[in-house]
Point group: C2
Chain length 260, copies 2
Amino acid sequence: MAGTNSERTMIAEGPVVILVNPQLGENIGMVARAMANFGLAELRLVDPRDGWPSETARAAASKADHVIDGARVFDRLEDAIADLNFVYATTARSRDGFKPVRGPTVAARTLRQRFTAGERTGILFGRERWGLSNEEVALADEIVTFPVNPAFASLNIAQAVLLMSYEWMKSGMADEAETPFQAVEQTPATKEDLFGFFGHLEDALDARGYFRPADKRPRMIENLRSVFTRRAMSLQEIHVLRGVISSFDRYRRKENDDND
Amino acid sequence: MAGTNSERTMIAEGPVVILVNPQLGENIGMVARAMANFGLAELRLVDPRDGWPSETARAAASKADHVIDGARVFDRLEDAIADLNFVYATTARSRDGFKPVRGPTVAARTLRQRFTAGERTGILFGRERWGLSNEEVALADEIVTFPVNPAFASLNIAQAVLLMSYEWMKSGMADEAETPFQAVEQTPATKEDLFGFFGHLEDALDARGYFRPADKRPRMIENLRSVFTRRAMSLQEIHVLRGVISSFDRYRRKENDDND
């Protein structure tokens, strides 16, 4: 999809993503891609195992070059978050200590509020094998953790970054039901439109002797109308259905002409 | 984390995930892992390019073996969804047609309601390169699409499945602010606890001549107290702080003993 994006708004703002001791370049790349998908841009790496820059990371980033190129490397976590005002630590494990524990939706809303107020914020993600140490978590203001299957909790860092980035994007939407594109605009049908359709259908069926025997007619009409009133139809849908009836009503089945 | 999971509840229910023409075994494996993380279990593959079973898929699934082992392969999408009642199609592109377009939160809530009502549901994900065809989308009841960075929309199928699975998990939570573990339980401090702490601190400082000159004392006390009333403290936090004061108050700095 990236090919047709040149004229579209590039969102690149919000919390800094800080990866502590990331091991695989591929994971760093997938983190960059996840960030770019949801409008985050600032990536910091604390002591990446295989060094930096990394061609593996760039390849896995699927053209999120602005994130890869802007990534900064630090020796110590303390330095990587020195300029920030508020930091979340992500962890899957309960920790001793007084730090508040939030779900991703609440954490994203908090980050959005602080961002809007002009604060610099960040989210820490631990190493692939065992996450963040207690000392690293202690440097953060609050903890964020994901609701996962108790018997299968194996989110990797790229997945964790994806979820937080996604929640960040959602936290900026006026309404979470909002979608980037909508269904084709339709006009709700009035009852008059609907009754016109009923008349068309019933007339066409009547002409074929559909309503037989005569004493069953009221019930048959009732059932027929029920099918089409289960949900409010649009005018466009009624037009489609009237086209169908006209087709049945006016034209004969071509391949059966001989047998009619 | 999977090693300590044996005694924990394995969640394995909810919508079927249907991948149409998936190309890379690795992506199928990451889909299985994402599903398992958020409690989904039923995977169907329509005409996977590299055949099935796939060792690449199993390796990438990170022990989500129950999803891989249970995966079923179909030649046609129609057969893969034949037994379902309600199906979403995921797409990043606007389509012509009357189908309602939903965001992931609303879609997950709809799937949860139908699941609770006993319906069989599914979510379609398209091929890596170009998603679902219009004909495939037409087989679904509604469309679901993700809020993404307009200038960088490159979610892969594993990421899309992760987000829908995550929203599915959240849709089953009584409260989205719920977290799998909580901060250490703390008792909110009463004002009496707080005033006791103020007395302790101010007495220790007073003994050192901290409040000088005397006419600044009220303002200095006011500022000091402000620091500790910006947020409601817990009793545990007050205990920590009183320990700090006691330590300063009772003991001298060891390495400086000679100079004191």
